[in-house]
Symmetry: C2
Subunit: 146 residues, 2 copies
Amino acid sequence: MIMLNKFIKIALSKAKKNSVDIPVCAVITKNNELIALKTNKREQNNDVSAHAEILALQEANKKLNNWRLDDCEMFVTLEPCPMCAWAIINARIKNLYFGSYDLKYGAFSCGLNLIKLANSKLSVFGGIEEEASNKLLDNYFKKLRS
Amino acid sequence: MIMLNKFIKIALSKAKKNSVDIPVCAVITKNNELIALKTNKREQNNDVSAHAEILALQEANKKLNNWRLDDCEMFVTLEPCPMCAWAIINARIKNLYFGSYDLKYGAFSCGLNLIKLANSKLSVFGGIEEEASNKLLDNYFKKLRS
C-alpha cells in the first residue's frame, strides 16, 4: 500500500518551516521508505534551479549513486514547473503525487505534453491533501502582500 | 558587438574534452565577458540535473549572488531541453544562442511554447557554428556505438 497522505503530510509540515521561499517541499521514496526530502531554496541559496524537486532528485541521486531513480516515487506539495517535470521524467521517477495544482505554470495543468514528448511512463496524480496545500501557499502570499 | 562565434567556439573546445558525458558546454556572459562555463556532467556526477546549462546558471548565480541573471546571455553547443529552457527563462537570461538543433527533445524545436507560457522576453537564436556542433555530437555517438 502506498501511503499518499502520509508523505504529502510530511512534506507539508516541512514546507511550513520555510519562511523565506515559496513554501514547497518534495519527498522521494523507494519501497515506501523516504530517501530524500527537500524544500524550495531559490531565494535562500540564490540559485534559480534550487526548487524542492531538483534538490530532492539530487539528494536521491547521491544516496543511490545513480542519476536514474528507477522504482522511486515523488510526493510534492505543489505541481512541478516544466524544469522540474523534465528532471523528474529523465530520472525515471515512476509515480508523481502532488498537492496543489499550478494552473499558471504547472507542467501538467498547462498541457505541455512532456510525458508524451519524452515517451515516458511517468504516472501523475494531483490534488492529494489539496486543501492543506492550497492553504499553505495562500497564507504565504497573504503574508508577503501585508 | 556580440561575438556569437567566439563564445560558441570556446564552448565547443571545452565540450570536446568531456569524454564520459554527451559533449555539451554552456557559457554565460555579462557585458560581453565570460562569467560561467560548464560542461554536461550527468554521468560523471550521477546527477540527473547536471546538464551544462543548469551548472552554468548555478555558477553565474553564485558569482553574481543573485538567482536573476539580468542582462546576461547564454551560449550553448546544443539546443536546451525543457528542464534547462525553463531554468534559463526563470533566470531572466536575455539572449540564448545555441549550436545544434535538437529535433527530438529541444524545448524550442519541439514547439513547447515555454516562452509564451512564462510571458518571457527571452530571444533564442539557433544554428551558430552548427556544423561543428553537429560533428562533435556525431563523433561522440559514433564512438559510443563502436
